[in-house]
């Protein structure tokens, strides 16, 4: 955890139980985030990658090609 930020905002470190605890939490949460991303990208692929991406970017959905 940033020693400079810890100097300006020591409470942020204390809330997380100290620098080493914050570090451990950081590893766990970052792994969970990566898993979250992988699962959701997989779901987009299952649901039809092109159509889902088009829907996300333009808001339009082609009728009749929904798979899930």
């Amino acid at each position: 955890m940033s020693p400079a930020v810890a100097s300006a905002a020591p409470l942020a470190v204390s809330i997380l139980g100290g620098q080493q605890s914050a570090r451990t939490l950081h590893f766990v949460v970052s792994v969970l985030l990566v898993l979250f991303v992988l699962v959701h990208v997989f779901m987009v692929i299952l649901a039809g990658f092109r159509n889902r991406m088009t829907a996300m970017i333009t808001g339009r959905v082609r009728e009749g090609v929904e798979q899930a």
């Binding site: 940033s2 400079a4 620098q19």
Partner: protein
């Protein structure tokens, strides 16, 4: 083009133009106020600049947290040190009586101080945390002479921007800006946990920069150079760390 679409187009254009002008202005302002780190080029340069500038604006005068005596680590971790060489052994055998800390560059009175002289300066003691990029950390009590006192003693010029510090280990050298160099907790330290600074922890003299990571706390320092331009040292990135892929500014 419908009315709404045109309005959107015009708004977007105005925002983009203001953004570009703002960026140019911001870059000039940042340079003027010393918010651009020496390793601002390269793939990670933008990120380094953003971190350094943000932290200099928000934490310029913040104090590293100090701990209680009871929180001092029982077994501080002494990191691996490369073989120190014959010159170091010779000085060590002489009890470091001949060890000198040379101070040069943009100073009115360049000189060289012995460990005894540095110990005679007003001292400062702190119980602070040191954390390494590798993950380990410990809390220890450090004693030393504030670097700001030494800078005043030698008459560092007002326009100086960095202090470069070098070690008897020639491949480990660093530099810090004046915000850290004149910071009251930045010490040329010679004592640890109420004793002499052990050689494993950087004795006889170690730079102590408690608001930055462990690698900025160079062991066995023997030379300080006050400068307004770090481009002339090494590969021009400010210190040895960015040459090895680390950040120059290690407030992180």
């Amino acid at each position: 083009m419908t009315r709404m679409a045109r309005r959107k187009f015009v708004t977007t254009g105005v925002v983009a133009a203001a953004g570009a002008a703002g960026l140019t202005g911001a870059a000039k302002l940042a340079e003027h106020y010393g918010l651009i780190p020496p390793d601002a080029g390269g793939v990670y340069g933008a990120g380094e600049t953003l971190t350094y500038a943000a932290q200099r604006i928000l934490t310029r005068h913040s104090m590293a947290r100090e701990f209680a005596e009871s929180q001092i680590s029982k077994e501080p971790f002494a990191n691996h040190v490369d073989p120190l060489g014959d010159e170091f052994k010779r000085l060590q055998n002489g009890g470091f009586a001949e060890w000198r800390l040379a101070v040069d560059g943009m100073v009115a009175r360049p000189g060289a101080f012995s460990v005894a002289e540095i110990k005679s300066f007003p001292s400062s003691t702190q119980i602070t945390h040191i954390a390494c990029e590798e993950g380990w950390s410990y809390i220890a009590k450090w004693k030393g002479a504030p670097l700001s006192h030494i800078l005043e003693l030698v008459g560092a010029e007002a326009k100086a921007r960095f202090v470069v510090y070098r070690s008897i280990q020639t491949d480990w050298w660093e530099s810090i800006d004046m915000a850290d160099a004149r910071h009251p907790q930045t010490l040329v330290s010679y004592g640890m946990n109420d004793g002499e600074m052990p050689v494993a922890f950087g004795g006889p003299l170690r730079m102590r920069v408690p608001r930055q990571l462990g690698y900025k706390n160079v062991k066995y320092i023997n030379r300080l150079t006050v400068t307004d331009n770090v481009k002339q040292f090494g590969e021009g990135l400010g210190s040895a760390a960015p040459e090895a892929g680390y950040a120059w500014y290690a407030g992180i």
